[in-house]
Each structure stands twice: as structure tokens, then as C-alpha cells.
Symmetry: D2
Subunit: 383 residues, 4 copies
Amino acid sequence: MKTVNVAILGTSFMGRAHSNGWNQVKKFFSPEVQPVLKVACGRDVERTKEFAENWGWEETANNWEEVIQRDDIDIIDISLPQHLHHKAAIAAAKAGKHIFCEKPMALELSKAEEMMDAIQNYDKVHYINHNYRRLPAVQLAKQMIEDGQIGRIFHWRGAYQQDWVVDPNFPLTWHLQKELSGSGAMGDLNSHSVDLAHFLVGDIKSVSALTTTFIKERPLPGKGAATFSAGSVSEEKGEVTVDDASMMLVEFENGAVGSFEATRFATGRRNHNTFEIYGSKGSLVFDLERMNEIQFYNNEDPQGQQGFRTILATDPSHAYMKNWWPTAHNIGYEHSFVHAMTDFLDAVGTNGNIEPNFNDGLKVMKVLDASLRSAENGQRVYL
Amino acid sequence: MKTVNVAILGTSFMGRAHSNGWNQVKKFFSPEVQPVLKVACGRDVERTKEFAENWGWEETANNWEEVIQRDDIDIIDISLPQHLHHKAAIAAAKAGKHIFCEKPMALELSKAEEMMDAIQNYDKVHYINHNYRRLPAVQLAKQMIEDGQIGRIFHWRGAYQQDWVVDPNFPLTWHLQKELSGSGAMGDLNSHSVDLAHFLVGDIKSVSALTTTFIKERPLPGKGAATFSAGSVSEEKGEVTVDDASMMLVEFENGAVGSFEATRFATGRRNHNTFEIYGSKGSLVFDLERMNEIQFYNNEDPQGQQGFRTILATDPSHAYMKNWWPTAHNIGYEHSFVHAMTDFLDAVGTNGNIEPNFNDGLKVMKVLDASLRSAENGQRVYL
Amino acid sequence: MKTVNVAILGTSFMGRAHSNGWNQVKKFFSPEVQPVLKVACGRDVERTKEFAENWGWEETANNWEEVIQRDDIDIIDISLPQHLHHKAAIAAAKAGKHIFCEKPMALELSKAEEMMDAIQNYDKVHYINHNYRRLPAVQLAKQMIEDGQIGRIFHWRGAYQQDWVVDPNFPLTWHLQKELSGSGAMGDLNSHSVDLAHFLVGDIKSVSALTTTFIKERPLPGKGAATFSAGSVSEEKGEVTVDDASMMLVEFENGAVGSFEATRFATGRRNHNTFEIYGSKGSLVFDLERMNEIQFYNNEDPQGQQGFRTILATDPSHAYMKNWWPTAHNIGYEHSFVHAMTDFLDAVGTNGNIEPNFNDGLKVMKVLDASLRSAENGQRVYL
Amino acid sequence: MKTVNVAILGTSFMGRAHSNGWNQVKKFFSPEVQPVLKVACGRDVERTKEFAENWGWEETANNWEEVIQRDDIDIIDISLPQHLHHKAAIAAAKAGKHIFCEKPMALELSKAEEMMDAIQNYDKVHYINHNYRRLPAVQLAKQMIEDGQIGRIFHWRGAYQQDWVVDPNFPLTWHLQKELSGSGAMGDLNSHSVDLAHFLVGDIKSVSALTTTFIKERPLPGKGAATFSAGSVSEEKGEVTVDDASMMLVEFENGAVGSFEATRFATGRRNHNTFEIYGSKGSLVFDLERMNEIQFYNNEDPQGQQGFRTILATDPSHAYMKNWWPTAHNIGYEHSFVHAMTDFLDAVGTNGNIEPNFNDGLKVMKVLDASLRSAENGQRVYL
């Protein structure tokens, strides 16, 4: 069987999630080409060695620019900090690699456009990892929409709600600094939601937005504090330069309307990525905290017997599920990455395509950019 | 016990709901004054007689202007078609009556302002029946917010979703004609939501809105067709002149942000009036389709044991409930009217006050008016 | 329109619920005959007067034996304490009255059999008020089963769970004394569940049971303490002589199997009367705490799109609902009584029949009696 | 780091799940000893090779008796067909291996007792894989019970419901033949539930049971048909010799009572392993179809604010979760195996113990055996 060599750039949270994916895809799926876990690249020599050993990467490296230039590497997996996605992707594109890039595409629209320029007439595979498209429940939603079971779509009502920075003593991590993260809830969370809306409903025509920062100053992280959690903090304070919450109203090209709400201040919502889609023939409701389920309302069920039904999307008939376990043996978060990888490897093996790719990533960036402008000037922005 | 004479204007859906309320309040509650069901007033002589007999109104009348002038009437219950609220309320105010007025206050802001003018320095009770404030579950939410259990409020996320006009053959009833209804989902549904947001979160500072009409032309109602249901239709068509769906993003005076979504096109949602409130200490979620329940998340529960809990607001300790049945013997829609009436009668009997009154109704009208303007010009409107 | 005179015996919780029912049935329904609220009968003269005035009973009386003999009374409504059902029903039967009797039929099987004897070849209407049959959601379940949508029934899984005596200081009210209540959870709660199982699944062939009393001694009620709540208690203690919890496994005549669980010790379950029915073509799940809903699983939905759907049984097409409010304007506990009364009055007006009647009540008593025997001797009992 | 050599016997469903577990435990956890995937043993030479290659087993073998005798093997993983558990476990015990044995322990009690005899005074680790104990949500339940948060337990109400054989044309696979499976729903499903009840509530004192076989004859599997699914069938029929459904009522030693319901005929329930535990201070509800969640009712929450709260057991504070992903990034079915393996390896590395072991497995077998006897003779059986 044909193999392809993968180099992963980055060894943090996403480095782990991707490494697990490259391992599991070989065991549970049979993509057109098999990945070889060739090089793991991280800044810290010792930590990268441990990482590589744990996840089965054959070699380690500490300079990602050099790794990208290696002739024996087919796939560049960009799991770097977000502010480096842009630079790494352009380098990988110039080197003619297949690119598996974690979301968001870039910190700002102009950077994403440069990335797009770099892959004009590209014959390699490029992919932005909006992974939630590849949950079986979301795939089922897509298929039902395409089969016409939802009919004309009237409404998208989405929200991505978290609560990890509600505590005013949560430190000023990189997520809360514009130069490192581009934006806050908007880029981090709405990027997922907008991609799902593009996937399921269609292109967005206009946007009116509102953003806010509830807590404008926070303690700096203590020395050696973890990035994600409210660890030790310093006595010094710094300014939060991103949005804590971002809301949008949109018109879609097809006449549907939608709302989005992204926040890190929804106390009690840990990772509540939810959408409702209402159409003329049926409706769909999804919630990531119950990611194996989707609710479906069929307007054509007999009068008096209609209702939202909870479909457990774990049958062999559901996307990807026959490769895992028997019916109703649930899958988890990490499986979405494995699904992305099998499809990506199929695209690589067949000189094919995968979505969401850079085009789709750019489309998301355009909506977020328009939203930030709308939030600032108080006007509806047409894309 | 002191009694007060009530005259009801209108004998349709709201006429029934109010009549039931005036009857039940006497049996289940002990307000400061007891209502006497004195006069029922409707256009159709025969129908009004039947109505009065059924609900126990002592007399009938067919001209509401005259009824308002009667000296023996203390309370005017305005259950007339919405476009007449304004005229009847002003007449009642001039006649110095206590006014129990069904929502919405008026079809448009200028009319509501005229109503407001009519009750300057008024010493009688005036009330707009945003009845959902008086569900025990909503009262519990209010009390928890006032007690500080929710802390600083960050988010309101509301939606009032129905689906009764999804069918393009649903006729052009009065609800779909601007001159009879003022607006569509905005006035009908968002008025409820905005009143709840005012009650629970506070005043609104700015609004950005989007409205749409999905189906722009509909068959005229057939001869004698019912007002609410997709009965017989004529072959002729007419233009829908109101919004099918209305969405808003708002800033509250206290720094919270909110979103509202009102629609008659959420297939599968029959009467889905829902809100989420997220605060620094806790969160609340309500859904009218499960109106005896409210969900509460307590951020101060022990780490690892936190979660949204479903409170059945049917204990004797919950507002109004000790007057009904034992714990967990649920109440229904109509009970909210009885609760409004007992509080209204208490206000009448004590020369007191009740909320929401004309001031509160006007505040709602101002938000809806600003929203319609924002939707039209695409700009955030400050109130 | 023809009228019938009603006398109600009993002015406590059930007296209230029934009085409300007789009033509301006239306003919301059009049964074959109209009830006249003629006499309210209670032991306490003053209290009965107040009761009658509040609920609109024309006269009062204080000796129920005499009331039953009155020629001008057509319907005897037995809302007396449970230990008097038997005696009053036999008297009413001898007097040839229509009998509307609150559940349970009697405290023990032999008494119920005597009641049954008293109505041999009876041409009047008799009824035992297992009221939950008449919830629209339960009626929908019944209709779907009769229409064959559930197919061959395999399983009944029922539970009626409450928690009002978990506190060991809850006093020894009449509910906990065998001579006044016959049994505990078994008679009080399982009687409802068994009636529903008879209604929806069919007759029971055998039963294996287990009962327990978790708290065997309790304080006597304090002077003047309320019957239902943990009011003031005396220092003296008395023995609990009924079951706190009762569980049964049954075989139905039609080959289905079932389980029942009735308890007053399910902390957090206020009035959780729930059942699951699984059949070859579909399944149904009901929970009284969400009494306007029923869940339905259709095994004939397309593969991969199956799931339990939540039907809001509030459409005009659902039983009784077109007489109340528009779709999704929920009803409550008390409405089940009104539904019973309209059907009862129809039976009276047409010399017809209503179920559950004494035959059905007796059938329930036989199952409960067999269960108590099985629990005691540890053997499966065949009916 | 110290390593131990594992041999896996069996390459079917459980072979896959265990192999994945041995791989993942190395990547995500740091047990006291590291497993080396040494030998995979299956009957079919070719299939076993593929299996070993896929899952990273160093060698293959085709005779499990021989593998057990190998000196270089430390751990025997028994993933064989159920009827071979007994024989393999005894051989492994005689050979002095650490034993990781898939449930059920054996097909019948006498066999389990022989296994127990084989490990008298054993200084190696033995384990029966009732894997659901090791879900973080179940671990949380355990911890809350041990911490006294539930108080005195009154009730266990469990059910394990599936629906994969409702179709009468589902073939007579090994699961439906007593000589290959021991029993049906009783052994397959109730074994899980009884183990959970032992873990969470305590030992069982008596049992009354009912079993039934709804469909007594089925087509034989077609040639080469899969074991688990309704694949091709032969025209010949055979007798179903196990229970389709099994129900039990039990008394626990500590005074609690319980019910169990195991069935393969609960249409719509794919893998619905659920329990409710009611105690004097709180209650817990679990459902495997939402395995990341547990519901908790705290009787000590303030009056009027009590309710079942849904805890997402995915915080770093929840068992095993800090080794996976950030909060609310759900895990799935397979993770329970990884958790079992890390604890098993810790026990191996520390000469420790793990539960459930053979003692616990035997205890389950005793309850199931008593149940089958009770079901047959209709009498309560004391253990």
C-alpha cells in the first residue's frame, strides 16, 4: 500500500489531538494512502523527544521552517500556535506540500488572503480543520438537507458557548491578546459556527454584529502557568484586547436568516456548540455536548404525531460509524480528527479534494472580518 | 368583602382566557377586592349572549364605547382586537377606569405614547398583560436574580418560535396585515420576550435588528374562515405586509448583551418561548413548552458537581402555587391569567400598582420601534 | 338542555378538584347533560358553607348518608376519605344513583367485591376516577396502540415515584396507617399505574412482588397538623403499617411482561408517574411531570433516522384539546378531572358507559391484592 | 520503565476493543508498568496476521492453550468467545498469569466457581471486565455515594435495554443459543447492571425474577453471515434457548430494594444501560447513551431550588479525564477499556488488586443464577 510521510508542526493540545488521529486512522480506517508518522517538530528539544516517543513519530526536529523544506515529507500538519498558521502554510504551499492546517486559518483576513494567493492553481491537497463537520451527527444533518428532507431553509440559530474565563482572576493568556489570537470568541468559536453554517445552509450575504468585553483587565499569568486554565497568576494586570462575546445576525444568499452567538461567559456551558436549522419540511437541532445525537423534526409526519426526535447517529449507516463499534457505542471528541484524516488521506491518494479547504477557510475569515467591522461601526455589512 | 365590577370588551380567544381568569381568581385566590363579572361586550348580539351565559357575565352589550362610560363599571378589560387597544384604553383612561389591557399595548409607538399621555397622574390601576411574567418558574427566576444568585448578568439569549404560517397556503389573516397587527413576529412575539428581558435583565440601550418576510404573498381567507388556522382560502392572493421573523442584538444599560429571535417559521416549535440568562454566579434557562420548569446552574456548587438542574416550580414555596394543588401537580397556560388578575385586584383594592403597566408597555414599544427602524436602515439604534 | 343534579361528598383536596371540574366542564365542554352543583356535603358545618359558596354549590349538608337518599340528586360524587368509598358507593348504588367515585375503589379487595355486587345489572353510570387515562398524551398513546402503530407489545415499564415522606420526621398521617389507607405506595400509586397498564397493554396474568417499609416508626401528627405535609409533630411515635415502596413484575395475558415500581422514597421525584411501552413497531414513553408530552419511537421510520420524538399533545387533533386553547398552550393537572366529567356526563346523558368503571376498579384491586400476597409469601401469584 | 508482555486471545469485537485499549493506555496514561503487545492469538492464520499487523501485536499464534504456557507472557487477555472464558481463565491461573478477562465470567455459576477455585491464594492480578464501572460519570457516582452525599440508599432502579433482535427474521446467532451463551439478556446485560449495583449499592440478599422469550423460533444464520447483525439467513429454523428479557426485584443487604430489567426487545433503545439511585440525601441517574453525563439531585439544596442537575463528567477533576482532552471534550465507549487497562497495569506493577475481580465476577454469577432459578420456580430466592 502506498504511504505518505507526515510531519507535524506543534506538540501542544492540537499536536496531541492530531498525533492521535494519525495513529488511529491507520487502525480503524483504510484510506487510499497510509500515513507514516515521520517527524514531530517542536521548539523544546526534550519535550519534543518525549512527544515523538509517546505518539510514535520516527524523528524529531526543532525548526519548522527546515522541516517544511524536507523532500521526504508529503504532508505538513500545522498544529502550531494560531499566529503562525499563516507563515507556516505559505511556506508549505511554496514547498508544494499537502497541507493539513488546524483552524483558524489565520488571525486576520489579509493574512488568509495571502495564504489563498500561495495556493493558486495548486495541485496538492489543502485543508482547514473545522473538525465538527465530520461528526456523524453533522454529516447526517448535511445528508438530510441535501436529500431535501428539510426543504427550504428559513433559519439558522447557532451558538457556541463556553465559560472558562468567567472568573475575573483567570489570567491574561494568549487567547485574550489580540496580537496572538486575532480575536476572542469571534475567531475561536464563531469560526466553527460559521463554517458549519456555510456547510449546512450556504453562503452569507450580510452581517450585523455586536461584540463586547466584559472584563477588560486581568492578571498576567504567573510564571510557568498553564495556558488554558486559571493557574497561578501574577500581581500585575494587563488589558484584554479581544472580544469576550460576539453576536451576529446574518442574511444568507438563499434567503434564510441566521443568528450566531459566541461567548466565553455562558456560565455552565462548557463546550456548547449548538445549532438549530428550521426549514419548510423539517428541522434539525445539534448540541456538541451530546455530539452523538441530532434532533430531527419531520413536518411530513402525520398530524398529531409530530415531534423532535433524538437520533443517535451511531448506526453503521451513519458516516464513519461502521469503522468503529456496534450501534450506540458512542464516540468522542477525538474521533472527529480521525474522520478528517481519513478523508484527507483519500484526497491525497486520489489527487482529489477535501472540504473545508483554504477556499472555505477564507470564506469564514471574510465573515468574521465583516462582523468585527460591523460591531465597530454599528452598520450592517454586505459581503 | 369589597367587590368591583368588571366589563370585558371582546369575546374571542382573549375574551375566553380573561373570562376564565375572572372566574377562577375568585375560587382559588383571595384578592383584596372580589371581581363581579358585570358586562360582556361584543359586536355580535347572539354570540355575545352565549358568551356571557357561558362565562357568567351578568349582562351583555354591543357598543364598547358606551360600556366604558357606565358609572357602575370599575374595571375595563380590553380583550378587543389589537388595533383597538389604543382607542379603548384612551377612552377608559378618560373615564377614570382601572384598565386591564391585553398585550400588545398598541400597533405602533406613537399610539402607545398617546395612551401614556392619557394616564398622566393617574390614580387608577393600569396594566398590560404580558402574562408570562406571572408563571411561577419565571417568578422564581426573578427572585433568584434579585437575591443575587445569578450575579452580574452577561447574556440574555431569547427566542420566541412558532410555526403556524409555514404553509404557503395559510391565508392572509389579520396577523399578516400591517394595518391590523402593526407588525408580525416582532410585535406579537418579541413583545413578550422584550418584556421578559426588561423584567429579568433590565433596560435596553441599543438594538441592531434584522427582519424578513419569507412568503410575500398568500391566499386571502375564504368566506367565514377562522382567524387562526389554515382554513378555507380564496383563490385571490394578497401581500403579506409584516415580518415573518425578527431578530435583534441588544446592549443592556447594565453592560449585559442579548439576542432575540422571533419567528413564525420555526417548523416544529409550536409555542417555544425560551430564554437563557448567563451570569457570573449562575445561569437560568426557561422554555414555555415546559412552563412548570426552570433550569438553574449554580456556579457556586462544588467543582465537579456542577450542572444545570431542572427545578419543577410547583412547590407551595413557588409564587401562586400554594393556591392551586399539591407539589408537582402542574398548572397550564390559563393559570398565568389568573395570577395576573389576583395581583391586579390587589392593586385595585390597595390603591397600589402593578407591573407591567403602561410605562412598561411603552418601554417595550420603544424597543420594537427602534428594531424595526434598525432592520430597515441596517444601523444600530440607540434608545 | 337537560340538567342533572350533583351532590359532592367531601370537601378536602379531592372535593376542591372535583368542584373545579364540575364548574369548568360547563364552561369548556358541551356534554350531553349539564351538571347542576346542587349539594356539597361535609362534616364541618362552617367549613362546608365556605366551600359551597366558593365553588358554587347551591346547598350544603353534613350527613352524607342522607344526601344519598335525596330524590333530587342524580349524581353522587364520592370525594370522601378513602376508607369511606366502599360504604358510600354501596349506599349510592342502592339508591340508584350515577356514581362518580374517586380512586382507589376501596381499601381492600373484599370491600371492592361488595361494591361490585351492589351494582349487578345496574342501569346507572359508575366510574372510578383513575384520572390519568384522560390526559391527551395518554389518550394519544391509547389511540396509537389501537391503530396498530406500536405493534405487538413486549414491555411495560412503569414507575410512580414520589418523595414526600423521605424525612423521618414526617408525621404518621392517615396515609401511613393501614386501617385508614389500606396500603401505602401500593394502593395510592400502583393503583394508578396498574389502571394505566390495563388500559394500554391489557389484563395481567401473574404477579411477583416486593414491598418494604424503610421507616418503621414516625412521630404522631401534632394537634391540628395538616394531613399532607410535614407539619408540627407530637413527641409520641407510632408504627407505620403500610408499604413505603412496592414493586411488581407481571405477565400480561397477551404475552407482554411488565414491571411496576411505586414509592414515596424517590428523593427528587415529586410526582413522577412514568411508563415505557415497547412494541414490535414502536415505543411510547410518558412522564406525568411533563404531562403534555409523550415520546414516540417509530420503528418504521427510515433506517438511520429513527429516534424517540417528543410529541406535544396539545394540538386540536388531540383528545379534549380543541375545547381549551390554541396549540402548545399547555394544560395542567386539574384538566384531567374536567375530561373525566365531560365523558361521565355524556354517559349519563346517553344511558351509556364510561371506563374505568367499577369493573375496571375491581380489576386493579385484584392485582394489588395479589401483589400484597406475593410480597408476603415470596411467590408468584396467578390471577 | 518496567514493561509487561501481553498476549491477547481472540480477535473479534472484544479483540479489537482490547487491542485499542492496550495501545491507547500507553499514549494517554502512565501506568506503573508499560504493556508490550506481544502475541495476538486467533484461530484463523491469515486473519490473525492482519489483526496483529493492524493493532501492533509483535507476533501471532493460533493455539491459545500454547500461548498461555509461554514463559515470556505476563498478562493473558481473554477476549475469546464467552463459552471459552472458563477454560482459558483456569489455564491462565494454573500458569500463574495476570488475567484480564472479558465479561461475563462464565456461562454458568458452577464454571465460575471452578475459576474461583483456580485462583485461591493467588498472588497475580485477576480482573473481569465489567467496563462501565470505569466511566468517569459512574466513578463520580461512586465517589458521591462514598462521601455520603446520597445518604442512606433506598432504591436502585436499573435497566439495560437493547433492540437488536426485535425483527423475527434476525437469525439464531450464538447469542440466542444457551450452550454458547449461557443465557440471553440475563447474562449479557443484567451482568453489567448487577455489577454496577454491587459497586454502587452493595450486596444483594434476595431476588425474585421473571424471564421470557418473545420469539421462540428463528431462521438459522445464512452461510458466512455476521454474528451480530440480521444478515443473510437460511430457510431452516431453530429454537431460541435463552431469555429475550429478564427482570428482577431484589433486596440488598443494607435494606435498599431494587429492580432490574434487561431486554433485547426495547424497540428504540440501542444500548440503554440506565440506573436510578434514590437516597435520603440525594439521588443519581445515569444513562449509557449519554455516558459523559450523570444526573444528581441534592436533597440539601435550598427548598424551592432543588432539581436534578446534569453534570458533564468531563472536568479534569473527574476520574481519568485529565489524561484526555479539555473539559467537555467528550469521550466515548472505547475509553472505558483504556481506563480499565491503566488500573489493571497499576495493580500489576504494584502487586496490588483491582476490582471487579474474580470475586466480584462470581458474585454477579450467583445473582444471575439465583434469578434464573427464581424465574423458573416463581419463588423469591435468598442468596
